[in-house]
Symmetry: C2
Amino acid sequence: MKMDARKRARCETRAVVLKALAHPTRLFMIEVLAEKSYCVCELTEMVGLDISTVSKHLSILKNAGLVHVEKKGKQVFYSLRMRCALNFLDCVEAVLREQAQDLMDAIK
Amino acid sequence: MKMDARKRARCETRAVVLKALAHPTRLFMIEVLAEKSYCVCELTEMVGLDISTVSKHLSILKNAGLVHVEKKGKQVFYSLRMRCALNFLDCVEAVLREQAQDLMDAIK
DNA sequence: TTCATATTTGGTAGAATAACCAAATATTGA
DNA sequence: TCAATATTTGGTTATTCTACCAAATATGAA
């Protein structure tokens, strides 16, 4: 099974979604947004980075289809759109646990 | 819920696993390795990049704990270790389908 | 040991990312 | 309209990533 142009395009599309998740700050925000929606300034306060940086991170999540955006007055609220991203993260946890176990096994 | 040092570290660890998945070539190989294990030269043939590039991609997957490595004679075989990475990808598909649907809705 | 094959590692150049600051835009209220 | 607040966008710099080539390493066969 070769990676022809079609398969490559398909993988590139998927990679956009995964890349959106693959950043500490964005992961953190995904977790936070799993509870409820927050506006940019609230997220900025939690994250502790410049608001322009946070805004750009959020736009990456938006472009990937991971969050939903709603404007209310002067504020813009983001919420988690794809709940299955959370299962996602559980899977990552499983990977990490297994890695840790391997390390333990290697030591003893 | 602020992103303190501990939370940041936690997110960074998770991000390593996600980053490993977040590349078209590596995604492709994950899919291929879901069927059965392959050696580096077979994967290189499928992927169509330089073998050194493929080797580096594989080492990223290995470091993230996503694949298992087994040496047989002159060849090195890689296999998918975390099957749940596939559910992962199903979730990504769901995201993409929903995005496509939104586009359709926006047009009509 | 020597050769051939398979893989990894080191080096390098170009592309992509992420952080900040400053400026632009949008919205509400005076 | 003007001022204040919330957010986004543009610009810049430093870092990281990715692809290739060349060289090093490992293994099995002659």
